[in-house]
């Protein structure tokens, strides 16, 4: 799939530098998985990171540092057994391939959000504070208008969804922040499933928006 909406270069830079919130980083990683162009940019930025690391003047190490390092490599690697098997919700559409970065994340059961819209929480094994959800909507259904007090990154996994600023199809990533207030409608034709990460709280508009409360908390 070839995306037409991509994360900004500022987001890719923050991702390459390791500066993104865990949830936002997961959504960006899901985009990179299917976007060669953005992956190339991140690889170039990582090369910049490597070059900057190589240019740094060395910090003095403790006297026993090298001896410790040489002793550490003699210690056999503890065996992990089977690593975290992927625990996916049994009720995802059978033809939906989740992006590899989601592998190993537990996905909760689907809950009602609004007419035609359901959501499910994605649990990050290493960050309980991250706020990541899958949202799925039937064609034509509406996600209530909401504003943002933090940042929201959304990657469209399948189907398409339209907002005031455009139409987002599978592979697209769109962002919203303090300056954005949007309502979104699932496009006709097929079900739409999105991966969304939020930081901060949503600002609710209208009585329908109260249904978003379970996702972000009061």
């Amino acid at each position: 799939m070839s995306a037409s909406h991509h994360p900004g270069e500022d987001v890719l830079l923050a991702h390459a530098a390791g500066g993104l919130d865990a949830g936002l980083a997961l959504v960006v990683a899901s985009h990179l998985y299917n976007c060669a162009g953005c992956s190339d940019t991140v690889a170039a930025l990582e090369a910049v990171g490597g070059a900057l690391l190589a240019e740094l003047s060395p910090a003095p190490m403790s006297p026993e540092a090298t001896a410790r390092a040489m002793a550490a490599i003699d210690v056999p690697l503890p065996s992990h057994g089977n690593r975290n098997p992927s625990r996916l919700s049994p009720r995802l559409p059978s033809d939906l391939t989740l992006p590899a970065p989601l592998t190993g994340h537990a996905i909760g059961r689907w809950r009602w959000l609004a007419p035609g819209i359901r959501w499910s929480r994605v649990h990050l094994p290493d960050d309980a504070t991250a706020n990541v959800v899958l949202i799925r909507g039937r064609p034509g259904s509406l996600i209530p208008a909401h504003g943002h007090r933090g940042t929201e990154f959304t990657q469209v996994l399948t189907g398409a969804i339209a907002g005031p600023e455009g139409r987002y199809a599978a592979g697209d990533l769109f962002t919203a922040d303090e300056t954005t207030s949007h309502h979104l409608q699932v496009c006709d034709g097929e079900e739409c499933i999105c991966l969304s990460a939020l930081t901060g709280k949503l600002a609710m508009h209208g009585i329908l928006a109260r249904v978003l409360m379970p996702i972000v908390g009061p």
């Binding site: 990582e46 090369a47 910049v48 070059a51 900057l52 690391l53 910090a59 390092a69 690593r83």
Partner: protein, 189 residues
Amino acid sequence: MVDAPHGSRTADPWGELLLAIARKADRQAYERLFCHFAPRIKSWMIRAGMAPDAAEELAQEAMLTAWRRADCFQPARASAATWLFTIARNLRVDRLRRERNGPPAPDPSDELPAPPSGEDIALCAERDARVHTALAALSAEQAAIIRLSFLEDQAQAQIARDLRLPLGTVKSRTRLAVKRLRQLLEDMA
């Protein structure tokens, strides 16, 4: 690199050391790699706000990870410095999350790549040289934005305060800086 290992025919001698570790668990290669990169990783972590002891611990952990995963190093994709940068970056991210969350999660597994060719290594070294040239060609402000993002892991809000610019301006200038960097790299390719 003044103290690059001798006798290497390629331009990424540090990559050669990683390959020697992958091929035959070369301890001497590891010691040289450690002595070069561990103090730089420590230096980076201190700049990024970590206490010196913790920074040294992270440098140890990063180098040990490099030893254990040397067979995942792909010189066609990244230089040794870049690969070590990503290892240290990920460990730092994990560490910050652990401090907020409690016990760590297992690492995602790595896939074993095909063995590299000498050509791969040479290509990658060329790319590193291009990165240096491209960085030098940025304006002072663009270079500052990129450096602050990487080395001091500053959020854009903090960079905006440091450079006394509105946040929106920093975002748009960051995008321009990255675009210019990519353009410079492509022009040199």
